[in-house]
């Protein structure tokens, strides 16, 4: 509970518009309903993401790594821009003093945050563009992820 679990990954799975957790077992049980590549934008509650990777935050295979801390509704140190090249593996960790839902737009990666436990999103940069990562409930922008 001290070292490794400090960066406990709660969920690095894709959901339709933050509607709940989606663990691997659920993904398997839902495959019959999903289109192969359907990520998020269907009306279904769950869909598998093409983008999320099951890699821990301290793994050596991560190319771009950023951590963020949210205190009293503000991003400590201000909004940042995370830059990555196509094909790189990106890991974003967010810690918040309130329970929240973390959402990276476009890639539609979602994770729940509990106070004291950061959420981590790990994905392969495979869509170019600028994507906002925000706290879904507060509507707070945390970072812009620029992938080229």
């Amino acid at each position: 509970m001290r070292l490794g679990a400090a960066k406990l990954v709660l969920a690095v799975a894709i959901l339709a518009a933050c509607s709940g957790n989606n663990l691997d077992t659920e993904e398997l049980s839902h495959t019959s309903q999903e289109s192969e590549s359907g990520h998020s934008h269907s009306h279904d509650d769950t869909a598998a993401s093409d983008y999320s990777l099951d890699v821990p935050f301290d793994s050596e295979s991560i190319d771009v790594k950023s951590s963020f801390q949210i205190e009293q509704g503000k991003v400590v140190g201000g909004i940042q821009r995370v830059r990555a090249q196509m094909g790189e593996v990106v890991a974003l960790a967010v810690e918040s003093d309130t329970p929240e839902i973390l959402h990276l737009h476009g890639y539609d990666l979602v994770a729940t945050i509990e106070p004291g436990i950061s959420a981590v999103l790990v994905f392969e940069a495979s869509i170019p563009g600028i994507f906002e990562m925000e706290l879904e409930n507060a509507g707070l922008l945390i970072a812009k992820v620029e992938i080229r």
């Binding site: 269907s42 737009h105 600028i130």
Partner: protein, 432 residues
């Protein structure tokens, strides 16, 4: 960008490279002064704007086509209102936000640039105007110029909702907006018919102005083909034309500004009405800046020309229409492509009943359908083409309306204004 945070426009465009900026800016400057120095000495556009008639549609066929398109338009408006009133408040489940901000606000006006005035074809309010025609006693005189200030006011309100209000994609604000729009246009269609709509329905005014650059237009059941851009010469000078164009230019510029890191940091942590307040000040400031640039340049021209035409600035606002289109393409092309796909997915099951009308219900948005290189190329070409057309039309308009039309000095402020607007647009795209 405000909408981004609320689930529409998940993917933002990459900033333009400084190299692209240099090329486009250089080309813009070169074209501006080349047109001024080597340009023609007589107004020409109005002469070639007539175009030629390709074919005539029988009135029966025209009635059939417009009946179908306007029923489709009524369905689109109706589904939007229904969803805004009764479907769950979510940009994924509810189709209303994308119907309004993507279909009506981006896809219809931008497609009209290519295909001609689509809203005139699809507007359900045109159907109301046609159905109530025989009950109208006093037909408004189409020759008498109507003011566009009403349309400009509603466009400003709409832009405020989209860019400044903190919940632009919320159900309630959208429902209020739709009810006001439908009410305003329906009563006007009954009282003033199609002439009223063309001057007062904000979407109809915007689409009419933007479609004037198109190669296609319809005149009394005749499909007319003309060269691109030349149709601008036929846009009538109306009071408030400058207001309409400047309000939309100001809104688009503020949209660009609000995507910069500087603005994002400024509003970070500001929630709800505080955010609305800051964004309102931003929108008003940028719009006021654009208006002052324009009025400054045009008044200077007017003074140099010793011209007392009361509608002087509205006449020259025509040269900003292509600039406006360029801004629109640069800012919203990718959004139309990506969010348009999302709209198609939602359209299969608009009310969340589990329908699959178009077989797209379980599809997903393909963010790789156009590459970022293509998007950057479209953005740069949109800006440069808009600028060139603006210079050409402005020069032509100057030859037509200036008293001292051989004087290049009198035209210089307009060219400087167009260069300034183009540079602003480019800088905002580089800072995106």
């Amino acid at each position: 960008m405000t909408l981004l945070a609320h689930g529409i426009g998940a993917r933002g465009d990459l900033p333009l490279s400084v190299g692209t900026l240099a090329v486009v800016a250089g080309a813009a400057l070169f074209v501006s002064f080349a047109a001024l120095l080597a340009g023609w000495k007589e107004p020409r556009l109005a002469g070639i704007a007539k175009g030629r008639s390709v074919f005539t549609v029988s009135s029966g066929a025209a009635l059939l086509v417009t009946t179908i398109t306007r029923i489709a338009g009524a369905l689109a408006v109706g589904v939007s209102l229904w969803s805004a009133l009764f479907v769950v408040d979510s940009t994924v489940e509810n189709i209303a936000p994308r119907m309004v901000y993507v279909l009506f606000w981006i896809v219809i006006p931008l497609s009209s640039v290519i295909f001609g005035d689509l809203w005139r074809l699809f507007s359900p309010f045109e159907a109301i105007a046609a159905l109530t025609k025989k009950f109208r006693h006093a037909q408004p005189d189409p020759k008498k110029s109507q003011s566009l200030y009403g349309a400009a006011f509603f466009l400003l309100l709409f832009l405020w909702l989209e860019l400044s209000f903190h919940r632009p994609a919320g159900r309630t604000p959208l429902a209020i907006m739709l009810i006001v729009w439908i009410g305003w246009c329906s009563q006007g269609a009954v009282r003033g018919g199609t002439t009223w709509l063309g001057n007062n329905d904000p979407l109809a005014v915007l689409t009419r102005l933007m479609s004037s650059v198109s190669c296609f237009t319809v005149r009394k059941n005749r499909l007319v083909v003309r060269r691109p851009i030349v149709g601008l010469a036929e846009v009538p000078t109306q009071r408030g034309l400058a207001a309409v164009v400047l309000v939309v230019l100001g809104g688009t510029s503020f949209d660009g500004l609000s995507r910069t890191d500087w603005w994002t940091s400024l509003i970070s942590g500001k929630m709800d009405w505080t955010r609305t307040l800051v964004n309102t000040l931003g929108l008003l400031f940028v719009t006021a800046l654009i208006i002052s640039l324009f009025l400054g340049a045009v008044r200077l021209m007017q003074r140099k020309d010793e011209n007392s035409d009361p509608m002087f600035e509205d006449g020259f606002a025509v040269s900003l229409i292509p600039v406006l289109i360029g801004y629109g393409v640069a800012h919203y092309f990718s959004m139309a492509i990506f969010e348009g796909q999302f709209l198609l997915i939602q359209a299969s099951d608009p009310f969340g009943f589990g329908w699959d009308l178009f077989g797209t219900r379980t599809s997903y948005v393909n963010y790789r359908i156009v590459s970022s290189t293509t998007i950057a190329a479209v953005q740069a070409s949109g800006i440069i083409a808009g600028h060139i057309a603006g210079v050409v039309v402005g020069h032509d308009r100057a030859l037509e309306s200036l008293r001292k039309r051989e004087s290049l000095a009198a035209q210089l402020p307009l060219v400087v204004l167009l260069v300034a607007l183009t540079m602003i647009a480019l800088l905002l795209l580089v800072e995106a």
